[in-house]
């Protein structure tokens, strides 16, 4: 959801399928394929691929971006374990505004989805209204 919001905040068209499909889908972001490939190799612990994808990120985006990317990967390797180990539900407002997107991307099929109450009926409609309002909210942040 934060990826979608970031795209809207900066008027960037982002293909969210890059999150679930990786390098098969082109995110539309500079160096996007290199970054997703580096992330995948790191999570899967593929040593040779970690080296080659890290070098690719450095070639395409520079050394500082490579360090930042490694930091984000490390941070989320920790965060996903906290979330999955504690079994926390998605924060309700996030659940509402991300319901359609999660269904479209297949994220609702993940095992952890059981921890979050499904978003149905009026709440689903409310979530869609909130999504439509999001660009207006983001514009307020920018001004």
């Amino acid at each position: 959801m934060l990826l979608r919001a970031s795209g809207e905040a900066h008027d960037e068209a982002i293909d969210l399928r890059a999150v679930t499909e990786g390098a098969k889908a082109k995110s539309g972001l500079a160096g996007g394929e290199a970054l997703t490939a580096f992330a995948e190799a790191s999570v899967r612990g593929e040593r040779e691929a970690i080296s080659s994808t890290r070098e690719r990120v450095e070639r395409e985006l520079g050394a500082a971006a490579t360090v930042d990317a490694a930091g984000v990967i490390g941070n989320f390797e920790r965060m996903v374990r906290i979330a999955d180990a504690t079994g926390i539900p998605l924060d309700r407002a996030v659940a509402l505004v991300s319901a359609d997107m999660r269904a479209d991307l297949g994220i609702d099929e993940f095992g952890g989805a059981r921890s979050t109450r499904p978003v149905r009926g009026l709440q689903r409609l409310l979530g869609r209204v909130m999504v439509r309002m999001m660009p207006l909210v983001l514009r307020r942040f920018r001004s």
Binding site: L3, A9, H10, V19, G32, G111, L138
Partner: protein, 81 residues
């Protein structure tokens, strides 16, 4: 867990604003929440900037590039949260 709005006294600093579930989940060990915030500020986004995608996190990556990596790591781990 310490609910949002009930972090008081020695724990008054625990939630700078909104308290997402991932923070509250750690709150029985308050220092774990503080260290998690420290790490996230250094490696990802300071918590007080999280809800504002227009904020400049001062990184060599754009906010969208950061979120792409975060999303992909979560998806490969099949993390729903």
């Amino acid at each position: 867990m310490i609910p949002e709005g009930e972090a008081r006294g020695a724990e008054a600093d625990l939630y700078p604003g909104k308290a997402p579930n991932v923070l509250r989940a750690m709150s029985l060990v308050p220092d774990a929440v503080r260290r998690m915030q420290d790490l996230s500020s250094a490696q990802y986004i300071p918590l007080d900037q999280l809800a504002n995608p227009s904020a400049d996190p001062g990184r060599a990556l754009s906010r969208a590039q950061i979120e792409l990596i975060a999303g992909r790591v979560s998806a490969v781990n099949e993390c729903f949260y």
